[in-house]
Symmetry: C2
Subunit: 449 residues, 2 copies
């Protein structure tokens, strides 16, 4: 039975589409308003990363709408990190147990599949090129600009779901209400996307099933594979100082620098200078706010509620998990939006705060620590602990990435507890073999059983 409430989802990105599908399954009529043109018919580009890491929390959501098999066909499993040093030497670090992987997927490709699914539902209407100009939070009147006709018009949905991203216009309207807590914090780093094209035979020029990292202490580059044989590299680099986006001003500077610090990658980038000087610098922002809802009539979800930096590969996964949590609450509380929204924000906020903090922390790990032999030794020791005490120890990365039943906040708390034990252990460990020393084994037994 179709319900009578009119729901609007602002934003037809990944989270907006998935949420509209869930709402439609609950019997609601849903209008989706997207600022940009339909990406299935227009080349949009610009401003957002090309590929994304999909892991278990994301897969779980895709399974509920029956597209995980379809997406898996166009997703590339990454089983390990491959670290590249300045001489092109490689070292390796598996992401989890045998067979566990994160997946590189195309943001655009996944969005297209979700749009197709939404469009196929009679109860979902998609509206493109509809830019939110303002929301009157007390009446729920939304002023939209049709960027095709340049005409403004108003809608007045019963409930507004804001999935309009990190720079959400709906959130901006909520910011004007009383006692709205809000924080936007930028890293002093920007990112630039660069390309390693496919080999002449169409294959991948680096190990395909891996996330590649060029850790350089104060900056780094990473690369994720695409289905067409290319890699999308992302360089995370300071805005100012030396070296920085400011200090690299000419093609000559740039090529000398890349030849020195990323020699193996530079050799695979024929268009480096053109891409570097033409592509925009992306910003890296964390956004936290509270409350996420207003009077049972407006709810922020995904990046609009909690934008995070990309270093844990959890941005989309966290947004999809929002939808999973909401879906359960929709079933439990039916039309009681006030209860649904209040419960949602209270349950979800500690977890999205946790993943936000973890994501910032992981930048330090990726750009700096993974180049340190002690750190790699510690990861090997950790794998041994997990094997020996599988019920009481799981690496933090696995809790976040491969344990979708474990809330992020609990993963963080467990991780902090384990870190203390690990620090105590590592004082006694110089080689992998030291793991078997009696004092190490006794300490573990005392603390993990």
């Amino acid at each position: 039975m179709e319900k009578t409430s009119h729901l609007s989802v602002m934003g037809g990105g990944l989270v907006g589409c998935l949420l509209s599908l869930y709402l439609s399954k609950q019997g609601y009529k849903v209008d989706v308003y997207e600022r940009r043109p339909d990406l299935r018919r227009h080349d949009i580009g610009g401003g957002r990363s090309i590929n994304l890491a999909l892991s278990d929390r994301g897969w779980r959501a895709l399974e509920t709408i029956g597209i995980s098999e379809e997406i898996k066909k166009v997703a590339i499993p990454l089983y390990r990190r491959v670290m590249h040093d300045k001489n092109g030497n490689l070292s390796f670090q598996p992401y989890g147990q045998e067979g566990q992987a994160i997946y590189s997927v195309s943001r655009g490709g996944l969005n297209e599949v979700l749009l197709d699914l939404a469009e196929a539902q009679p109860s979902i209407s998609l509206h493109f090129q509809q830019q939110v100009l303002e929301v009157e939070v007390n009446s729920n009147k939304v002023t939209l600009l049709d960027t095709n006709t340049q005409q403004e018009h108003q809608i007045q949905p019963d409930v507004i779901f804001a999935a309009d991203g990190a720079f959400s216009m709906v959130r901006l309207s909520l910011q004007k209400t009383e006692r709205f807590n809000y924080e936007q914090s930028y890293l002093d780093y920007g990112y630039k996307e660069l390309t390693i094209p496919p080999a002449a035979d169409g294959g991948w020029q680096l190990e395909k099933n891996a996330l590649h990292i060029w850790p350089r202490g104060q900056y780094m580059m990473i690369a994720l594979p695409n289905m067409d044989g290319s890699f999308t590299c992302t360089m995370f680099f300071p805005y100012a100082g030396n070296p920085s986006f400011e200090s690299l001003q000419t093609a000559e500077d740039l090529e000398r620098f890349f030849g020195e610090v990323f020699p193996d990658a530079a050799a695979l980038m024929p268009d480096l200078a053109q891409e570097f000087f033409e592509n925009p610098i992306g910003t890296l922002v964390t956004i936290k706010c509270f409350p996420w809802s207003h009077a049972g009539k407006i709810l922020l979800v995904g990046d609009a509620a909690h934008a995070i930096v990309p270093f844990y590969g959890q941005g989309m996964n966290a947004g999809f998990e929002d939808c999973t949590v909401l879906r359960n609450l929709l079933e439990q509380h039916q039309d009681d939006w006030e209860t649904i929204f209040k419960t949602f924000q209270d349950v979800r906020k500690p977890n999205t705060d946790a993943i936000a903090d973890l994501a910032v922390y992981n930048f330090i790990e990726m750009r700096d620590k993974v180049a340190d032999p002690r750190f790699l030794l510690q990861k090997k020791v950790e794998a041994k602990i997990t094997a020996q005490y599988p019920d009481s120890w799981l690496p933090l990365y696995s809790m976040v990435t491969f344990s979708p039943d474990l809330p992020y906040a609990e993963a963080l708390a467990n991780g902090q507890r384990q870190e203390k034990i690990m620090n105590a252990l590592m004082a006694h460990i110089e080689t992998e073999e030291d793991y078997d020393k009696p004092e190490v084994q006794q300490y573990l037994q005392a603390h993990l059983t």
Copy 2:
């Protein structure tokens, strides 16, 4: 010699006036734009606290413009906290050494003196009822609304100083620039101002030279004396829950509640119900942002850069200290605004962050801890340590309040170090006499010499 740059100060409050005086002394022509009417000729009222705590950092600034003696005549020194329990029993805690005090001053009275001083300078022009609507940060064009004539007009100063308070419109324009870090966080508490009128003979009905506190765990009331014999009470109270502003809905509820929890104060408040239901509830916000400046042409100062909650009595003092720091930089770097602003924000930000955090922390101390006998014992022990080791121990409150040469961030760091020592000591102390126990004395000797 008058300089040619046109400087505008947005905001004619305490910080705006003081800063305009400093700028004028450096030879600049200064225009001050204030949103409200001239408070010397109009009754403004509403929205801001009536009296303020002035302490050493504030006095130092007033000395430089030669008005500290004049203000001292209308300021009331408060030598100690007086805690009122539910039966009206009193306990006491001195603020510092013999003779050290914080001062209760009238916000309006102090502002009037500063406006008079500014008006007397030929190089300062005051413009009232000028509301900032927008600042184009790249051109420095400011759109102002004259709220008297309702006409908009534009100005384009060479440099803009934004002293327009916690809800700064200039800051709002900076927020739209790239990579502006911003945080606004509200306590779940509001405040309500209430009055204890003078006695029939014109005197004070409570001890005059004290700050009174009614600590009640999850909420509290405080009172500061005014020159006319009255006290301004401020009740800090949750918005929701029981008890809260939400739960007290009728005069009957209110009077029963006050009679139970603040009986001695309630007996002195003939207009309690009227004031409680008519006066607005003030919000308690902390605002942090960075950078404070833009291109050497715009600078945020005072609450516009760092609004804090009132529990350390440092809001105005921190704003005045901004002016002191700026004044030194003006002398050092003359017209080099970019250097002045960059140095100012880099030096000052860690200190205003520290006082912001201390102010939130002090709320817990005031509403909860000061009612605890163990806490009062600890304060007595601390006084003994300070007497015995005057060169290596000063209570945190004294460092913040009575040590204007010590930056807030250093006070906080010293305080945290001392707290660890104190926690270790208090494990051995049940009475004041235990201070002389050998283990206590040995521990102190080991850690403080």
